[in-house]
Symmetry: C2
Subunit: 342 residues, 2 copies
């Protein structure tokens, strides 16, 4: 079924569309043999920071699966070195030393995105030429809470105890760190829009770790400030807080164009809690794609049924695609959305 | 402040109490020096299966912190060997080979709890004598969904992809496994009540991984069947599903006496979603106890304020206490509840 090239952007803006657009979080990644082939030659950090290569893997799922949007190949921690931090991937991101004191927060460097992270913007420019209007390009970055979680913890964690200890015991220090990240992430993402990204997704992967009573101050408010500034640059913004069903009443005030819903909540419940102001994106359980094409098609159709009431709707997974996903299951997901007649 | 020895049981049954009772999930554990001292001598599995030692560590937090209930020292996977499975701790639980096929499900052995796991019941009898009415003894076990998650996955996991693949692609096989576990966990827990456990907590640690649409069939219904049978044995039951704010409408039908609330949801939101039929248990963020006694006291008082409306209420953490918690913070939590004047 042919569809307009701007299907995704129209759905983000809740304009009428002939069918829902579809893309997959982490659609460029290890489940694709052509991605693994490149990763045999270069490490993850090199891939992120080498424009020709980052652009190549960004386009791979567009060619292979026929998704309706490309998303910049990058990582939430890519801006860390520009802030004076030491970043490595082993294979998860590590910040060493981590940012745990007033002195460490004060020492974070401000930077000029285009000057200090030129590879990000060069990748975007290459991609706009390479995609040539075929599908829109999504840029992305971490919401302040989630970026702070990595900076304070120094690495991924189940409980993020260092970061949460700071929030509970030194809330004003946490505020100061978040304020710094609001400024830097705004600049980082506005520059992506100026370089050619046609939408921005703000990932708040760890926001769901916050108790409901703390969500507004430490996750929602910082995210909202970034969202407002990026929207003012003229592109739609998707806010995706993972595991945040306890905080829908706060997220209702995020001010984005689209709210991402993880696989836990039903799209009806999320839509009811968020009101009619937002398009929704999501939310097939990525584990469904570990099964078989028939199961994927059935569960995708069920998801599309539940999305019917959404004012705008972008079909996606409810979290990133898993590395051991069979490509045929990813393809079945995309085909099921594109073939849906409602 | 002195309080009746059955404060905890009265709160579970929503009877009037002079103050909320308090205990901590995983209150016997690595944060206590006297526990670490014993663990220097014996490994985890030996500790779980040696009645005198398991009873000793069960009583440690009662002596040290003055909590209002003791909870049997054990592990969710303790019944696995009686089902013919090979269990080890490295340090997390490992089931090798895991249970992934119809043949493996059919091969699970039924067992007689008192005959095949005598150490569990001997520990309970020792504890009832040792506690001598000071505080009630809570027994516990895994809900069928969560036990199945470990059996199919073979170990802890972030996504539990093997188990969820079975649910999505072979739902009838998942049902069969859950049916088997409903029967065995019912026998295992009813026997705990008969041996002297005065309440039972059913842990559904991984239920929150399920999409809302699947929660009722694969988590709630099996748990409800176990809960019903254990309550018929005359003891109150606490159902604790972690990370399940998207599934309150299903949990509302669990039929337990008490519903545990993790640290994410506010007690008001949980209470409103669950209706007035349940006492609530929870829900201080365990990371608050990584801070300092002043912060712990402040946050505990805030939690107690939000619990005011609960028909019955048991103060607790919103998940297990973390190993690197300072003992003085655990003590401050218990003291803040016991000293609360409302």
């Amino acid at each position: 079924m042919s569809a307009p090239a701007d299907l995704f952007l129209r759905a983000c803006r809740k304009e009428p569309v002939p069918r829902p657009p579809v893309w997959l979080m982490r659609q460029a990644g290890r489940y694709l043999p052509e991605y693994r082939e490149i990763r045999r030659r270069v490490d993850f950090m090199t891939l992120c920071t080498t424009p020709d290569l980052a652009a190549e893997v960004t386009v791979q799922p567009v060619d292979r699966l026929g998704v309706d949007a490309a998303i910049l190949f990058s990582d939430l921690l890519v801006p860390a070195p520009a802030m004076g931090l030491t970043l490595s991937f082993v294979p998860g991101p590590v910040i060493d030393p981590p940012v745990r004191t007033r002195a460490a927060v004060d020492a974070l460097e401000s930077y000029e995105p285009e000057e200090d992270l030129p590879h990000v913007y060069e990748t975007i420019r290459i991609l706009r030429r390479a995609l040539d209007g075929r599908v829109p390009l999504i840029g992305f970055g971490g919401a302040p809470f989630t970026l702070a979680a990595y900076l304070v913890e120094g690495e991924g964690s189940r409980a993020f105890g260092h970061w949460k200890r700071m929030i509970f015991a030194e809330p004003h220090l946490a505020d100061a760190l978040l304020d710094t990240l609001v400024v830097s992430q705004t600049a980082y993402l506005v520059a992506q829009a100026r370089a050619g990204a046609q939408a921005i997704q703000l990932f708040d992967t760890w926001a769901g770790l916050l108790p409901a009573a703390d969500f507004r101050r430490f996750a929602l408010d910082p995210a909202r400030r970034v969202i407002q500034a990026v929207r003012a640059a003229g592109v739609p913004v998707i806010y995706f807080a993972l595991d945040a069903a306890h905080a829908w009443s706060a997220i209702r005030d995020c001010g984005a164009d689209v709210v991402g819903v993880d696989w836990r909540s039903s799209l009806e419940d999320a839509g009811a809690a968020l009101g009619s102001g937002y398009a929704l994106q999501g939310n097939l359980d990525p584990c469904v794609l570990l099964s078989d094409p028939d199961t994927v098609r059935r569960r995708t159709r069920e998801m599309l049924e539940t999305a019917r009431g959404a004012a705008g709707y972008v079909a996606n997974l409810g979290h990133g695609i898993l590395p051991d996903t069979p490509v045929e299951c990813a393809a079945a997901f995309v085909a099921a959305v594109k073939g849906w007649s409602g």
